[in-house]
């Protein structure tokens, strides 16, 4: 055997065979992520359309995605709910699925887009060592959901440019004409440069381009949807690593700032701590910025909740990281931050005693406190759901547009107490245990 292995051709053949076997096993595993998990809309669904109706070249491509319409039949405004902008942010996806499977409109209509970037659901990011799926228990059994990447699969769009330039020029003339105030501090067309990989991050390529890359066309189609369907309030769900400063926050276009701030106060009454950030004018390509600039009729907001599984400090990859939001590494960081701040305070005191100015008095490594036991996906999903409900309430209170009425959505406390799965269909489409209405 060893003698045979010393022969160059035999050795090459054995190694080649081994490489092919590895390639086959890996291919089957990667391909398994291309299988979509079923979603079960609430019985109040009125219509399903494809996004390509708003930009036909998208038809038949893997990025064409379902839009679920829930029309109350009563005149009113239009609410757009988006999940899966970044498929590695599972509570964002789950919150949109939660609405999809429970929503009932009483005034106006809702459009739910649970898989905004289907191209991100097809793969996981290299070097992030993520799982491909996670499970949510329901009273009828476990539901599986895919855990993807924040960017479109390179199989669909490749190679990345060295530097990505956002194509925002397409609506520039309208902005100059209709909203000259928005040109102040605004980098303008062809001026926003980003890392090359962001060319596949749909939340950096808005407002997209009708003849651009497939991700730019996806972004363009979404903007067309917002414009053609005259969306009034648009909510985009995300999650962020605990060390990322924009966390537990509503990021609002300046026109949506009042609605968001009032919702923040209403959420304080629910014991949900959240803050409002106004969308930066010089960081282009994001939903809360470009949707609002492209369509003066829409109030766009983006919601962030903390997720340890996408952090740079994360520990060993486990399903608990995603579902229970628990990670011993982050618990250690919490402890390290406390000890570091004690040391810094003591150091600052000593320096001040000697008449010197300390360089650093305290440091935030984490922008979210990770409680013992983690931040469960039920809590993160419930935050998004409750924030959406309060945003709708705030929008109606302030008469920010035609009224929007949403019924049949459980409160934050109920979702946390019963678990998200209690309100989802079973793995075979069994009705949710927490369902209020009749079934399809």
């Amino acid at each position: 055997m060893m003698k045979a292995f010393q022969d160059r051709n035999i050795r090459a053949s054995i190694l080649l065979g081994l490489a092919l076997l590895v390639a086959l096993v890996a291919t089957l595993r990667f391909r398994s992520q291309w299988v979509e998990e079923p979603l079960y809309p609430s019985p109040h669904l009125t219509e399903v359309r494809m996004l390509s109706e708003y930009h036909p070249p998208l038809e038949g491509t893997p990025l064409d995605t379902e839009l679920y319409f829930f029309d109350s039949g009563v005149p009113g405004g239009t609410l757009l709910i988006c999940g899966g902008n970044h498929p590695n942010e599972p509570a964002g996806y789950l919150a949109s699925v939660f609405f999809l499977e429970n929503i009932q409109m009483t005034e106006g209509r809702a459009i739910v887009m649970p898989r905004m970037n289907k191209g991100g659901f097809l793969h996981t990011e290299s070097q992030e060592a993520q799982l491909q799926r996670f499970r949510i228990p329901t009273p009828h059994g476990e539901r599986e959901f895919r855990h993807g990447s924040r960017v479109t699969s390179p199989v669909l769009q490749w190679p990345d440019p060295t530097v990505y330039v956002n194509p925002r020029g397409i609506f520039w003339d309208e902005i100059v004409q209709d909203h000259p105030e928005m040109t102040v501090g605004n980098p303008g067309p062809g001026q926003q440069t980003l890392a090359g990989i962001d060319s596949r991050n749909v939340n950096r390529v808005f407002p997209g381009h009708p003849r651009g890359t497939i991700t730019e066309q996806l972004a363009y189609a979404i903007v067309e949807l917002i414009r053609q369907e005259e969306v009034n309030l648009a909510v985009d769900y995300h999650e962020a690593a605990p060390e990322y400063p924009t966390n537990n926050v509503i990021v609002a276009h300046e026109r949506a700032a009042d609605v968001a701030t009032w919702a923040e106060l209403l959420l304080a009454g629910d014991n949900i701590g959240i803050s409002t950030d106004t969308s930066a004018i010089n960081l282009r390509g994001l939903t809360h910025r470009e949707w609002g600039d492209a369509d003066p009729g829409v109030l766009p907001v983006l919601l962030e909740a903390p997720n340890v599984a996408q952090g740079r400090l994360k520990g060993r990859t486990t399903e608990e990281q995603i579902v229970e939001g628990r990670d011993l590494a982050y618990e250690r960081v919490q402890m390290i931050q406390t000890q570091l701040n004690e040391r810094l305070a003591e150091r600052a005191r000593r320096l001040e005693e000697r008449g010197r100015t300390p360089r650093e008095r305290s440091r935030r490594i984490l922008y979210v406190r990770i409680p013992e036991g983690g931040i469960h996906i039920d809590v993160r999903t419930a935050r998004h759901v409750q924030t959406t409900m309060r945003l709708v309430e705030s929008y109606n209170d302030q008469m920010a547009g035609p009224p929007i009425g949403v019924a049949s959505i459980p409160h934050y406390d109920e979702i946390v107490a019963n678990g998200t799965g209690y309100y989802l269909h079973g793995p075979e489409g069994e009705p949710p245990a927490g369902s209020n209405g009749e079934e399809n």
């Binding site: 400090l313 520990g315 402890m335 650093e360 440091r363 490594i365």
Partner: protein, 440 residues
């Protein structure tokens, strides 16, 4: 303080490192294979071997992390070999020496900027070494610069080119991690790269400059038979330069990507000089490039498994525990970033650069200065073994078999570059006033 240390993570990491060292130095397997064995050892020690197809998926996913740089390196090496074989290199050396032999100080400055140029455009030190670095290598050596020092000059200039504006990929990656637009970085990056690049070349080369010897050398260097092809011999260089610049200036029209640009350059080289066999030049180039391509694949697997087992997070956590200053965070930045850069400077920018920039003051101008400084420090990682991209290829273009001999001369400039970056962080508030122009 044992409770702040991840025992599991560090144990697995130790096993990975031990497996790598045993494979590389005891069994003397190639570095790339040894990295892969380290990764497999991590999977086994971390308890991630089953399900087996999931373990294989992680290894293959990691292997693809540097797929784009692998293509760039392969194509650039083929381009370099074709320029050498068709006679261009010799003609250019002869012409440069004859024209500039009386002004070595100016010539050395010009050589530095020429070597930096592809790195400035592409953000890749490898692209710089294998293109203009390869062109300037014989010029430097004919001027009397010893082989090892010529390699060091090329490696350092390429590395500073990678750190120089307009394209600094680590800065883009750090910016993407903290939502910092790629604006206002040009002057800080130029200040941190160009002066030190020129100083390095002069310091290494000037002691060997002897005008009479250079003039004598210029007389002796024959242009070779390729001179009969005249100006058209330079066409491959012109085509590659035009396409590289075109991609930056007109990204909406030219998006070929570096690998294709280099292959087009090779195609032109085949038609414009001495007869070259496509098969032979490609095979020889791939033979030369294969070890480094293997290292990049092995490194990708290694980092993927570090992330999978939490070892990557642990490295970051342990790096963030110290207060700012020369007795705390700065030495940690100065050592961990280049060290992790030894595996990948882009990976280090993402994994360490983002937490570090958040651990430093985050005022609007200071954060830009700090991001620029961190990106210049991380670039030094391209000199660190085992990958040592800049060093390995610089040794190759000057014909030095042991790249450590080249790296020896890079140690002092490398340390100065790191200290310069740390000083820029220390004096960021002052420097930012002069160097950072965010604009309207």
């Amino acid at each position: 303080m044992p409770e702040t240390v991840g025992v599991y993570e560090l144990t697995v990491f130790s096993v990975m490192v031990a497996a790598f060292f045993i494979s590389a130095f005891a069994i003397k397997l190639p570095i790339g294979i040894s990295m892969a064995i380290g990764a497999i050892a991590g999977i086994v020690a971390g308890g991630h071997l089953f399900p087996l197809d999931e373990a294989v998926r992680h290894l293959v996913e990691g292997m693809f992390a540097y797929f784009d740089p692998i293509l760039i390196i392969a194509a650039a090496t083929i381009f370099m070999f074709s320029m050498e074989r068709n006679g261009l290199l010799q003609v250019l050396t002869s012409w440069t020496l004859r024209t500039f032999n009386r002004a070595p100080f100016v010539l050395l400055a010009a050589i530095t900027v020429i070597i930096m140029f592809p790195g400035m455009l592409t953000g890749s030190s490898t692209a710089a070494v294998l293109t203009t670095g390869a062109l300037m290598a014989p010029v430097l050596m004919h001027m009397g610069v010893p082989r090892e020092k010529a390699g060091a000059i090329i490696a350092m200039a390429a590395l500073f080119g990678m750190a120089a504006p307009p394209v600094n990929i680590p800065a883009l990656i750090i910016g993407a991690g903290v939502d910092l637009p790629y604006v206002g970085l040009d002057l800080p990056l130029l200040a941190l790269s160009l002066p030190i690049a020129l100083a390095t070349t002069w310091a290494l080369a000037m002691p060997h400059m002897d005008k009479a010897a250079t003039a004598e050398s210029a007389r002796q260097v024959e242009a070779g038979p390729a001179a009969r092809h005249g100006a058209k011999l330079f066409l491959p260089l012109i085509v590659v330069a035009v396409l590289m610049i075109g991609e930056r200036v007109y990204p909406e029209y030219i998006q070929l990507g570096l690998p294709l640009i280099f292959l087009i350059g090779m195609g032109v080289a085949l038609l414009t000089g001495e007869k070259v066999s496509v098969h032979k030049v490609s095979a020889d180039a791939m033979k030369a490039a294969l070890p480094i391509l293997g290292i990049l694949m092995g490194v990708g697997m290694f980092i993927q498994v570090m992330t999978l087992t939490g070892a990557r997070g642990e490295v970051v956590i342990q790096s963030l525990q110290l207060p700012r200053g020369w007795t705390g965070l700065y030495p940690v930045i100065g050592t961990t970033m280049p060290l992790m850069g030894s595996v990948s400077s882009f990976g280090a920018a993402s994994v360490l650069g983002v937490p570090f920039v958040l651990a430093l003051p985050t005022g609007p101008e200071e954060i830009i200065m700090n991001a620029a400084a961190l990106s210049s420090i991380v670039a030094v990682g391209d000199l660190m073994p085992p990958t040592a991209l800049a060093g390995i290829f610089a040794a190759q273009v000057v014909g030095e078999k042991k790249y450590i001999r080249v790296l020896r001369w890079c140690i002092i400039p490398g340390i100065i570059a790191v200290v310069q970056g740390l000083l820029a962080i220390q004096f960021a508030p002052v420097l930012a006033q002069y160097l950072v122009r965010i604009g309207g």
